[in-house]
C-alpha cells in the first residue's frame, strides 16, 4: 500500500496551461508564449484502422470538444464514401450539434468566463468560480444551468449513445432516428433553451454591460487584438455551425477568401516554432509573418468572436436582434477579445432557436435516416464550427478503407498564436520596468480564458485540475518570477 500524500500542484504543471513571458532589458514585456500539453502519436495510432472507427476514436482525443470531433469525423466519412446524409439524418445531426453548442457555451460562461464578470475580475480567486457565481445569481439560476445542461446532454445521449464521448457517426446518415413520441419533450427542451438563452443575455447586459468598469475593460486596449478572422457561413453569409463555406475577413472587415472546406490546404498554412508543440496556423497566401497583429499580420482568429465578425448576421430572428445590438456596442469587426463571451451567448440563442425549428420539423421523425448509395473515394475532409472555432478532419484510406493518413486542424491551433499575443498585451499593462503589478495573473488568465482553449486534451489524471503557471524571464532568459494557480 502506498503512502498517503497531499499533492503539490507544482509537480504536474509542465505543459499544462504554461505561459512564458520574456522581458526586454528595460524590464518591459517583449514576448509571451502560450503552451499546451503535447499529445503524441495520433496518426500512427489511427493508421490501419477502418475509417468507420474514426468517429468513435476521435471524441476521446479531446476532453473538451468530443461532439465536434465526432461530427467532423462523420462528415469526413460522408466524403470518403461519396454520400450525403438524408434530409432527416441531417436534421438529427444538427439537433445533436445544437444541443452540444448550448451545453458547451453555458458551461463556459457560467463556470469559466462568467466568474470574471459576474463575480468580478478583482474578486478573490476563492470566490471567482461557479460557487461564487451561484452566490451572486442565486441557487435557482444555477439549477436552471444544470437542468439545461442535463436536458441537452440527454439529447446527445439519445442520438449518439454517450454525451461526453459520442459513439454514433455513420456515413450518409445517423445511427438512430427520432421517434414521434420523443418530439414533444424535445420541443419542450428547445423552448426552455430559448428562454434560458434570453435570460443569460439579459444577465450579461445587467452584470457586465451595465457596469462601466467592466465595459471599459472589454473595450480597452489590453484586450484588443487586430487580426484576420475565419469562420463557416451559410449561403446567406449567416452563421452556421454544421456546414457551409469558409470565409475569411481582414482586420478591416473586408472579405479576402471564400472557399470550400475541402480546399483548406490552399488557404491554411501550418508553421512550426521551437517554443511550442502546436503547429501554428496562418493564412498561406500571406505567408508566415510571425507573432504580430495589425494589417501586416497573417494570423487569424476563430471561434465566437470570429464568427460574429465574419458572418453578416445570425440565422435566427432573436439571435439576429442580439447580434445587431452587440454590433452597435462593439462595432464590426470587433477586435475586443473579451467580447468572445458576449458572442458565445448569442450563439447559444441561435442554437436554441434552430433546435426549436428542427424539433417542429415534420421530417425529423421520418424513418429515412440512412443513404447507402456509396461511391467510395478514399479521401475525406470533414469540417464543422466547433464551439471554439473551425475544426477540420482530413483522412486518406487505402482501397480497403483502412486509414493511411490523418491530419487534424483544431480550434486551439488556429488561436494559439493570437492567444500568445493577447496574453502579451494584457501582461504589458501590468509589467513595467521589471515590476509585476498585483493582478497580472488575473488579467493574463482573462485574456486566454476568453478563447476557452482546449488544454490537456482528454487527460484526466489526478488531481483533476489544469493549473496555470506563468514564468517571467529577464532579457537573458533566466526565470525571475513564477506565478501559478491551481493549488
Amino acid at each position: 500500500m502506498g503512502k498517503k500524500i497531499t499533492i503539490n500542484p507544482v509537480t504536474r504543471l509542465e505543459g499544462h496551461g504554461k505561459i512564458d513571458i520574456f522581458l526586454n532589458d528595460n524590464g518591459d514585456v517583449e514576448d509571451a508564449y502560450f503552451q499546451v500539453t503535447e499529445l503524441r502519436g495520433f496518426e500512427k495510432f489511427c493508421i490501419g484502422r477502418p475509417a468507420e472507427e474514426m468517429p468513435r476514436i476521435v471524441p476521446n482525443i479531446c476532453g473538451v470538444c468530443p461532439t465536434p470531433h465526432n461530427m467532423a469525423s462523420t462528415k469526413a466519412l460522408d466524403h470518403i464514401y461519396g454520400v450525403a446524409p438524408t434530409p432527416t439524418a441531417k436534421l438529427v445531426r444538427k439537433l445533436q450539434y445544437n444541443a452540444n453548442y448550448i451545453e458547451d457555451h453555458y458551461i463556459h460562461f457560467f463556470f469559466l468566463g462568467g466568474p470574471d464578470f459576474v463575480v468580478g475580475p478583482d474578486a478573490n480567486p476563492a470566490e471567482r468560480n461557479i460557487l461564487g457565481v451561484i452566490n451572486k445569481v442565486g441557487l435557482d439560476i444555477a439549477k436552471k444551468v444544470i437542468d439545461v445542461r442535463k436536458r441537452t446532454r440527454d439529447i446527445i445521449r439519445l442520438i449518439a449513445s454517450k454525451p461526453a464521448h459520442p459513439e454514433g457517426g455513420l456515413p450518409g446518415g445517423v445511427p438512430r432516428g427520432i421517434k414521434e413520441e420523443e418530439r414533444k419533450p424535445i420541443i419542450e427542451t428547445a423552448n426552455l433553451c430559448v428562454e434560458f438563452a434570453q435570460f443569460a443575455l439579459q444577465l450579461f447586459k445587467d452584470a457586465v454591460l451595465g457596469n462601466k468598469t467592466y465595459l471599459d475593460l472589454i473595450l480597452g486596449e489590453p484586450y484588443n487584438l487586430k487580426t484576420y478572422y475565419m469562420a463557416i457561413v451559410d449561403e446567406y453569409n449567416k452563421q452556421n455551425y454544421y456546414e457551409g463555406m469558409i470565409r475569411v475577413i481582414d482586420p478591416n472587415g473586408k472579405e479576402v477568401a471564400f472557399f470550400h472546406p475541402r480546399d483548406y490546404i490552399d488557404y491554411i498554412g501550418e508553421w512550426i516554432e521551437p517554443w511550442t508543440y502546436i503547429r501554428l496556423t496562418y493564412l498561406r497566401k500571406l505567408g508566415w509573418k510571425g507573432l504580430i497583429e495589425g494589417d501586416d499580420t497573417s494570423l487569424y482568429r476563430v471561434g465566437p468572436l470570429a464568427r460574429f465578425n465574419v458572418a453578416d448576421g445570425m440565422a435566427t430572428p432573436l439571435a439576429q436582434k442580439e447580434y445587431e445590438y452587440m454590433a452597435s456596442v462593439v462595432g464590426k469587426p470587433a477586435h475586443h477579445t473579451l467580447a468572445y463571451h458576449w458572442a458565445r451567448l448569442i450563439e447559444a440563442l441561435q442554437a436554441a432557436e434552430d433546435m426549436q425549428k428542427i424539433a417542429n420539423d415534420p421530417l425529423l421523425t421520418s424513418k429515412d435516416i440512412r443513404n447507402m448509395n456509396f461511391q467510395f473515394t478514399g479521401k475525406g475532409i470533414g469540417c464543422v464550427e466547433a464551439c471554439r472555432g473551425v475544426l477540420i478532419h482530413d483522412y486518406e484510406t487505402d482501397d480497403r478503407g483502412l486509414i493511411s493518413k490523418v491530419n487534424l486542424i483544431v480550434a486551439t491551433q488556429h488561436n494559439a498564436a493570437p492567444i500568445s499575443l493577447s496574453v502579451k498585451k494584457a501582461a504589458q499593462a501590468f509589467i513595467k520596468g521589471g515590476e509585476v503589478k498585483e493582478g497580472m495573473l488575473n488579467m493574463a488568465e482573462m485574456a486566454f480564458r476568453a478563447y476557452d482553449p482546449c488544454l490537456g486534451c482528454a487527460t484526466h489524471t489526478l488531481p483533476g485540475k489544469m493549473p496555470l503557471v506563468i514564468n517571467i524571464h529577464d532579457y537573458t532568459g533566466n526565470v525571475i518570477k513564477t506565478i501559478s494557480r491551481g493549488a
Binding site: T11, L39, G48, I61, G63, L131, I155, A458, T459, R485
Partner: protein
Amino acid sequence: MKNFIKKHHLTPRPLEPYKLSDKTQTNRMDNRTLIIGLGNTILSDDGAGILVAREIKNRCQGLPNLDVVEASLGGIGLLDLMAGYERVIIVDSIKTDESNPGEIYRLSVEDLGDTSSYPCGPHFLDVRTAIELGKTLGYTMPETIDIFAISIKDNTTFSETLTPEVEKSIPELVTVIIEDCGLTK
C-alpha cells in the same frame, strides 16, 4: 487492425426514449456503492483507472448494491454519476514528481486541494469543487468518497498499451480495493 474494438462497444445498448430530466439526484440510494474507473484507454497509462474498474467488475459480479462505470470525465460529469450513491470509489491515474510509476495511492477528497484554486477550464472542474457544487445544488452526495490511484509514467502518447510498471500494478490495486472496501460476497 489492432485490438481496439472492445466487447463492450459491440454490445447493443437499449436506447431509452428521450424524456425530460427527473430529479433523482436528490434521492438517496441506501447502501449502494459506485465504482468509477476514470481515464482514457487510448492514452497509454491514462487508462489505468478504467482497467482496474473493469477487473473489479469481473471479480465482483453478482455483488448486490454495487455499480461499476467507466468514464472519461471531469468534475461536473462526475457529479452526474455520483449523486444519489451512499458511497463512491474513484479509481484514477496520478502523476507527481515524488512518485514512481506503478505505486499505488489512497487519497481523500481533501488531498486534492481546496476549492479556492481556479482551474484553467470548466471542463476540468476538480472533484472537490464538483462535490461542493452538488451539495450547494441540493443533490444527495455520497457520504463516503474513496480515491485510489496508480502513479503513471506516460499519459501523452496515443496507445492502448500501458507501460510495464503500471500494468504490473493493476492486479494489486484491484485486490487492494476489493479488500479495503469490503467488496466481497
